[in-house]
Subunit: 352 residues, 4 copies
Amino acid sequence: MARQAKVGVLGASGYTGSELVRLLLRHPQVEIALLTADRRAGQAMRDVFPQFSPFALPTLVSIDGVDWKAAALDLVFCALPHATTQKVIAALLAAAPATKVVDLSADFRLADTNAYARWYGGEHSAPHLQTEAVYGLVEVYRDEIKKARLVANPGCYTTCAQLPLIPLIRKGVIALDDIVIDAKSGMTGAGRAAKENMLFSEVSEGFHAYGVGHHRHMAELDQEFSRAAGRDVVVTFTPHLLPMNRGILSTIYVRASAQQKPEDFHAIIAQAYAGEPFVHVLPFGEMPQTRHVRGSNMTFIGVAKDRKPGRAIIGSALDNLVKGASGQAVQNMNLMLGFPETMGLEQIALFP
Amino acid sequence: MARQAKVGVLGASGYTGSELVRLLLRHPQVEIALLTADRRAGQAMRDVFPQFSPFALPTLVSIDGVDWKAAALDLVFCALPHATTQKVIAALLAAAPATKVVDLSADFRLADTNAYARWYGGEHSAPHLQTEAVYGLVEVYRDEIKKARLVANPGCYTTCAQLPLIPLIRKGVIALDDIVIDAKSGMTGAGRAAKENMLFSEVSEGFHAYGVGHHRHMAELDQEFSRAAGRDVVVTFTPHLLPMNRGILSTIYVRASAQQKPEDFHAIIAQAYAGEPFVHVLPFGEMPQTRHVRGSNMTFIGVAKDRKPGRAIIGSALDNLVKGASGQAVQNMNLMLGFPETMGLEQIALFP
Amino acid sequence: MARQAKVGVLGASGYTGSELVRLLLRHPQVEIALLTADRRAGQAMRDVFPQFSPFALPTLVSIDGVDWKAAALDLVFCALPHATTQKVIAALLAAAPATKVVDLSADFRLADTNAYARWYGGEHSAPHLQTEAVYGLVEVYRDEIKKARLVANPGCYTTCAQLPLIPLIRKGVIALDDIVIDAKSGMTGAGRAAKENMLFSEVSEGFHAYGVGHHRHMAELDQEFSRAAGRDVVVTFTPHLLPMNRGILSTIYVRASAQQKPEDFHAIIAQAYAGEPFVHVLPFGEMPQTRHVRGSNMTFIGVAKDRKPGRAIIGSALDNLVKGASGQAVQNMNLMLGFPETMGLEQIALFP
Amino acid sequence: MARQAKVGVLGASGYTGSELVRLLLRHPQVEIALLTADRRAGQAMRDVFPQFSPFALPTLVSIDGVDWKAAALDLVFCALPHATTQKVIAALLAAAPATKVVDLSADFRLADTNAYARWYGGEHSAPHLQTEAVYGLVEVYRDEIKKARLVANPGCYTTCAQLPLIPLIRKGVIALDDIVIDAKSGMTGAGRAAKENMLFSEVSEGFHAYGVGHHRHMAELDQEFSRAAGRDVVVTFTPHLLPMNRGILSTIYVRASAQQKPEDFHAIIAQAYAGEPFVHVLPFGEMPQTRHVRGSNMTFIGVAKDRKPGRAIIGSALDNLVKGASGQAVQNMNLMLGFPETMGLEQIALFP
């Protein structure tokens, strides 16, 4: 694509929206042509996110007022709540079938209509798009993504857990019925809705688990782990909320299916990602820290041995707003529009 | 004991030391008669911890200068580093055999001399006291503690993990070879030593695991879980550091040994602690938060079912400086000196 | 008062409400007989603040359903929003004239009806009570408070600024037209309402001023400083929000009215509070830190000299929820009901 | 300069060092040819700052082992402690006189030898270089910097205070004897030295002033404000430490020298920076927040009117590690080496 690509961000007043704008403003091949935010329509982006004050950006508009055909966007990032999303994208693609879409909601992540209904409590309103959508975990589905019109950007927790586990599951080296994922996320993962339990004073200087035994990201893990294994895989998964803004760390407990050692697990993961720009495997025995990927599109993975023979402890860290959301979305865009995969994503982690 | 008990705090310039002073200053039956801090000897407590400025306290002295016999203390809290501790306590008890001791280090927690040498890298210099010492987890060893002269106050991580697990292990309802303890601690658990990796800028806005596969608290867990089970038990245990000051949350993954259900686990734990003033079991399915026990001597425990049949997820939360250290030490003192067990420990959690 | 006093807390689901419950639960002369929270009526206090799970407390009720006469409360703490407050208290005192009231809102702090209307944008609906109310800054109005039926508990910012400045203003030693108060508050001062700008992710790792040039606490400062000076005093006051829960630090810039030196200012303040249990003046040149008063009813004050002759920099620190709100309210209650002033307020600061 | 410039970073194991590496790694015209860190010599940068693990960087070496002539560096960033700095730079420039230097210490900021001796407690060992050095506040000394061999990068507090005040002082519109600067800084401003008072548990959830009346940055403010005024100017300046990593906010209190209004001050500042890429003046009455410049090289400035006539309150916010240190250093480098001034500094603030 020789000219600048015209892109839009739907839901620009949320955190994944602002993170997209942060990245896209510095992407050399992209022009931000549309920003929507229904409740803030008519305002400038600087009223919603003052860090953008120095930059020229389109005024926020309401989705209902957009003429998709006239807008002639090359690609749209959809950062809307689930359920709303499927209606908006269906309308968009009906009006402008050549526009490509990276959807950051959960609406198109599950290929199985029944699974969607079971986990999200209602029929999917655009099952034909559910079928068309490609799951956007780049390191696994790169070839499919390049050809896709609609990509379902993976969840933050699930990206973090899948990257280390998929290679091990594919190789058949770990016991599939004994995987425990203890995940901890910074607060931006919970979004920008004004809820009492997300207030600073409720969150600061404390820690807790939530969604124990029934978090929706489980559906996505089930789907992808089962695909990788060729059989049903159900994992134990517990999310927690950290008193910090950005970062997910998953501590994953696995057991060898036969005689493999933790060192073998490390070698398998390291080999799987040897050429990947955004997955870095630490030396055996070292564990990742979320602060070292903050603001970057990197995932850091570490493998250590448990003191119990045949068991390993795996750490996986990423920034939930970047590789866990908007960074991966831009990575998907780059593939879909034929740009170099790392374009606009070279930022180095901000530490301290 | 009719008169005020005379007590001393060795190592008053650290966090467990200051926390002891906070509690003892308001204990109605105690007089703080001695405070030591070798590197700060000669200074006032207010120079080391300004929150004590309004209160009259003994000047900090060096341990070497204390005449234990003349001091005639009823009880000494020892909040010194391990290894140093055993020498100090041996000398103290030789000079003043009637003085009682609550030791907050790891030096007397392991009954087995070989285990001590293996985990702490050297011979124990006071094995006779190692034999005499009683392990100070009050809810488990209350009767022995009442008669003890030397009590080894448990570690913070281990108190947090033992309280929910001991009743289950004793009842034989969980598979002993598949216990995973994923523990997260606030920074005060790491002490007050000036180390680069404990600086605010290194810790804030980030999260990581440490001591993966080889943390010393494992020795204490092994000992107590094996005692409870009547056979060797080795658990998987991973500690993490939280960007906050106080609080430990342990997320514990267990599997039924036979047909028991998570609801049964909840009932067993609830029954075990029905009369306990400092252990509170939440309704089935609710999980604890560290913020709700901050500054108090409470442990909150929750049990929820995993979506995988026969598996449960247990949460256990306490303040590492109170029930995980100094509060439990005062609770031990109360038993050893014949005071009501809850005296001086009634503070309610400080939230928010 | 020989028997336990029966007290109520109106607005128990907010932070000043929960802080009152924390303190009152351990007050030896008080029985918590009533807790209201309109939007949470019918729920247990533990559903709103889980830290109270282990304790027996009245179920939350709606204010409208309370029969004040039948309730026969000795004293009510009113922790409701302004405007609502004046209506509730007027009704309460009409039905139960013998009940005493400590009001934590701004509704009765201003004695001047016009000032109220100007700053709060509307007529006061209970001007007779506005006249009756005593301003509850204990260290200044102790005698009046002992005889009062209705006490207006001072604001957090204003308590913090008044304690060091009132003695200096009374003595006439500082220039009244050049007082600058740069105040910084933890987030609990903003309350528990679910607002976007109070979310953890909006507040953490950042700092800003707000209400620049027009914060309502100015009205209270004007009134009290003018009373102390015997002439109109208008100060410069800028509040800021800190990424932490508890604590206010005011940095105050003053200039001598004549030849006095900063050391004189220190001596005047120290003398004014020599016998006060809850105001502690640090040695000259030392400055206070909010962390050393956290959770306690103490105010720490420091005075240092500026490098410019005749100018001093004063620091004043308190916990906005304790001495800045609920602790001072209990202090007022103690005076009004004839209890020792420090009863139930002896907690030592929780640091770290 | 057609080829890549070869640059070195002295003191790469500190925070300004790592921040330089973060920026330089993505600078399109620069090759990082040398990294020194005496105490970590022989280690990889990834051992000191794991966020650089994925990148190829020179091994850390000791300064003593560097052959400056052979190294043939185009420019060196010096991020060493003061006093050490002047010796290192003198030796470097003696051996390699064509190498340019941006010094981030305080050693060359004061042009007056006596002022240096007074504030830093000793003779300057390279007074000839002190004379040669250009003060590197780009927006004020751009032309001189372009021609300089040695630039003294300004301090973080002083950059933050100078940017809004210099235009006002130059125009003579504010009273020069009544300027109060109340400054608040994140913890990275205190560096990476392992000190007890910088531990997470000492800093978190608290706030305090330090260096009251005698902070070394005053010398730099005196010099620059006096230069701008053409007469001696001494300001009141109080620094505070915030429980967060990055960001300085200065709240500045000024008074009109005659009949000017706060709106005039705003217009003067806005006009002064109208074309500046890294200084953004908010609309009159809006105040800046540190979070909106985090990680970027921007300074945000706001002006509001005080309720006292003729007085204004000015807010100035920047990231102490970027515009307050390493970003401004790269901006200086760009000028000195003839690159576009904004090259490598286009990162947008990371919020949330």
